[in-house]
């Protein structure tokens, strides 16, 4: 079924966005202490999570997690769970957004107030996240389709550049024989987290077909290797950890002669600007729907229209408050979120499985 491709888009956008969400930074911090091994562990683990969640959501065709919780879990359990996931998804989007404001100021326009940029981003995200779930998937498809060739070009360009130091990469690879760390594995599995978006998108995607799971594995593995190793090849094994956004510094190394734009950084930046905003829209859309799920009662299926606007005000308020944090704190917070998120995914899968068991009991 052609509709399966939408599930892969959900995976893809998350995998591509790892660069903004501090995954390379986290891996680079542990580059001598088991990052390679963590990647090796993260690939099968991520695939396992994807498979399990896909399977268990497949038992509830065309329903989202809020409906499943409300129907099969007791209220004292379902409410905190929904709140937790709403917060987690909100923070995922928040980190992308704040990191991108940071990147904009650092690499593109140094003289602009961060607040003005944030206002623009918030407007884009808040307008777009209210559209219906199916439309978001179509939009995602368009954006990925537009940006994929550029990403391919940049990758191609960066690997063929004579300045790329393969020796530095090889040196890191020699550190593979090391125990993986929890932090490293948690960081690396972020690439596979796209499956979790199924929590809401299961409403419009019917059963996901896992025939192409190997493709997810290979592409996830390659994405991890490129986002970890290419900055090392350009910035050096030691100096690479001085960069907060190693990939943007890497893109700034590249130069192109055949186009009206000379610095590849600009291509890369505008490319990722679109993807980051799309990803934030996706995450906040899920968060919004989780919050709606908390207030959904049996009488009233859908909350009022004005409800959306209250949530938007809430989200914007938190974002403005969080924006005051400095770069160091944001980096730390991002790393912490990657670990917390890993645990959250476990809880998500377990709780839906629990709901499935309870349904079976009820039917028996």
């Amino acid at each position: 079924m052609a509709k399966d491709r939408y599930f892969y888009y959900l995976f893809l956008i998350n995998a591509l966005l790892n660069i903004v969400n501090f995954v390379p930074k986290g891996l680079i911090n542990g580059r001598f202490d088991g990052s390679m091994a963590s990647i090796m562990v993260a690939v099968p683990l991520g695939l396992l999570f994807t498979y399990l969640f896909g399977k268990v959501m497949g038992k509830f065709p065309s329903t989202g997690v809020p409906e499943i919780y409300n129907q099969y879990l007791p209220k004292p359990l379902s409410l905190p769970l929904l709140l937790m996931f709403a917060v987690l998804w909100f923070i995922a989007g928040l980190i992308t957004l704040l990191a991108f404001v940071e990147i904009t100021l650092r690499y593109i326009s140094m003289d602009v107030e961060p607040l003005t940029v944030l206002v623009l981003f918030l407007m884009v995200v808040c307008i777009s996240m209210r559209i219906n779930t199916e439309s978001i998937l179509y939009g995602l498809e368009v954006l990925l389709f537009l940006n994929f060739p550029i990403i391919g070009y940049i990758l191609f360009k960066s690997l063929l550049n004579p300045q790329f130091n393969w020796n530095a990469v090889l040196e890191i690879v020699t550190h593979s024989a090391h125990w993986p760390s929890f932090g490293g594995v948690a960081t690396a599995t972020f690439v596979f987290s796209g499956y979790a978006n199924l929590a809401i998108f299961n409403r419009v995607l019917k059963n996901v077909n896992f025939k192409l799971l190997w493709l997810l594995g290979i592409s996830g593995f390659l994405v991890l290797l490129t986002s970890f190793l290419i900055p090392i090849g350009y910035l050096g094994t030691i100096n690479v950890d001085r960069h907060v956004y190693p990939w943007f510094s890497t893109a700034d190394v590249l130069r192109t002669k055949n186009f009206v734009i000379e610095r590849v950084l600009f291509l890369f930046y505008f490319n990722y600007l679109m993807l980051s905003l799309a990803s934030t829209i996706l995450h906040w859309h899920i968060s919004l729907n989780m919050i709606k799920g908390m207030f959904a009662s049996k009488k009233r299926k859908k909350p009022k229209r004005s409800f959306d606007w209250w949530v938007i005000i809430l989200f914007s308020g938190f974002t403005f408050a969080a924006q005051t944090a400095n770069q160091f704190k944001l980096d730390q917070f991002g790393q912490l979120f990657l670990d917390v998120r890993f645990g959250g995914e476990g809880i998500l899968i377990l709780s839906v499985y629990l709901a499935y068991r309870r349904r079976k009991q009820r039917q028996a």
């Binding site: 052609a2 593109i108 307008i127």
Partner: protein, 460 residues
């Protein structure tokens, strides 16, 4: 006794009808007698064809032997009705029927309508290079004929509707029963029933009343004057609404891609067809973002470009005394005036206006240093690429969108353009045309219109 009662009621009916049609200078009421019997003719001379009335009604009256035979002769015509209620009779008379009242009390309504419509003319607003050039005309029957001749299938159904309390405009809803999505059809019929207006004068107007939301940027129905486009869409399972007296048909539901399909794409070699379509999308991108990009690059992000290009633009703008967005908006507005003016002008003066406006004014403006040379090139590119879009409705929409992008580019530079485009994409994907997703990249599964989109049914 019964006879006289009947005659009295008949007299009442006729006087009642005449009362309603009082003060109409074109009302004709004749009483013709023969063989001692009388036949009354009532009709509106402006609506009825005098040739039909003379040849089919009056001449045979004197050729026939007696009134019974004549009555049978009249009743034998197709579309000839026997009515009694005065309001119905008045409505029929206003449609162009002639009423014949016999002494026996029978009242016949004979269809003698005169339809004034231009002949089948070549299409004007959607011209193509090769291929049929017929277009719909103002008569519903002729338009229907043009479709039926191209689509000879028993599954082609046409349902009649009347819209407008005063205008009583006839509509024909045409669809292929086997291919149409019945949800769309049901939705369309419901919306047609909900239309409550006095006068419907054009297909474009109908399009407005069919829309689900009042404020929208993109057309969610296509207006066409080409029978071949209508037939092509019928075969894809869409619904065509022909509107009498307009010469246009409305196609629903449509997707974004339909607006970029010209009817001669099918006649081209496949690769050439793809190329042409690509050109059109490129034109769309150019005409929407180019002015905004100019503003962003010359006022905000000049460092993004290669140094030579940045210098070129800056040098060209050296004499221009105001910021770039003023320059762009000024020139674009000039362009809009020119387009609007040449649209309304008589053909003979039209070319003068474009020459004076486009050539002389453009050259003079650059020489005076009011706008840069590059700006003139840009404005021409924007204007020309706008006309690449085959359907006018989309062309008009695109004309408006570029201003929104200029505004965000003025505020945020290149960052604003990217964000603006993103919101535009999201807006487009959120649109629905009669429940069908409006904008998707891969529309290959478009042919299976019978299935609803991905999951739940959307209102659109």
């Amino acid at each position: 006794m019964a006879d006289s009662k009947q005659q009295a009621s008949k007299g009442n009916t006729i006087s009642c009808v005449k009362e309603q049609l009082a003060k109409m200078s074109d009302l004709e009421h004749q009483t013709l007698g023969f063989h001692g019997q009388k036949v009354q003719f009532i009709y509106l001379t402006s609506l009825c064809d005098s040739k039909i009335v003379n040849r089919s009604l009056i001449a045979p009256l004197y050729e026939m032997g007696d009134d019974k035979e004549y009555e049978l002769y009249i009743a034998s015509f197709p579309g000839c009705q026997q009515l009694e209620a005065p309001p119905q009779i008045v409505a029929k008379l206003l449609q162009g029927c002639a009423a014949l009242a016999f002494d026996s009390g029978n009242l016949y309504l004979f269809d003698a309508a005169r339809v004034e419509a231009s002949g089948v003319a070549p299409a004007e607003s959607e011209t193509i290079v090769q291929g049929p050039s017929d277009s719909f005309n103002e008569s519903l029957d002729v338009s229907l004929n043009l479709i039926r001749r191209r689509y000879q299938s028993a599954s082609l159904k046409s349902e009649a509707r009347t819209i407008g309390a005063q205008s009583k405009t006839k509509l024909a809803v045409i669809y292929d029963e086997d291919r149409v999505d019945h949800n769309v059809l049901k939705e369309l019929m419901a919306r047609l029933d909900n239309i409550n207006i006095d006068i419907l004068q054009g297909a474009a107007e109908l399009d407005r009343y069919l829309a689900s939301t009042k404020f929208r940027l993109f057309p969610t129905t296509i207006l066409t004057e080409r029978p071949d486009r209508a037939v092509f869409n019928l075969s894809e399972g869409k619904v065509i609404i022909l509107v009498d007296t307009t010469g246009y048909a409305v196609i629903v539901p449509v997707i974004f891609n339909d607006f970029f399909t010209a009817m001669d794409d099918k006649l081209q070699v496949t690769l050439v067809g793809w190329f042409l379509k690509g050109i059109r999308y490129l034109g769309l991108v150019l005409t929407t973002v180019l002015p905004a990009i100019y503003v962003a690059f010359s006022s905000y992000n000049s460092e993004v470009w290669k140094i030579q290009i940045a210098l070129l633009v800056a040098g060209s703008r050296a004499t221009v005394p105001y910021p770039s967005f003023v320059e762009v908006i000024l020139m674009l507005l000039m362009m809009e005036f020119l387009t609007e003016a040449s649209l309304r002008l008589p053909k003979a003066i039209g070319s003068t206006a474009t020459t004076v406006g486009g050539l002389i004014l453009g050259t003079a403006a650059t020489e005076a240093g009011l706008v840069s040379n590059i700006m003139i090139i840009l404005v021409s590119v924007v204007a020309i690429s706008n006309f690449v879009i085959p359907l006018n409705m989309m062309g008009f929409t695109v004309r408006v969108i570029k201003y929104a992008l200029i505004v965000v580019a003025t505020l945020y530079g290149l960052l604003g353009i990217i964000c603006g485009c993103l919101v535009l994409v999201m807006y487009l994907t959120s649109l629905r045309s009669f429940g069908k997703p409006y904008f998707r990249i891969f529309v290959l599964d478009r042919l299976k219109l019978g299935r609803t989109s991905m999951g739940e049914k959307n209102n659109g």
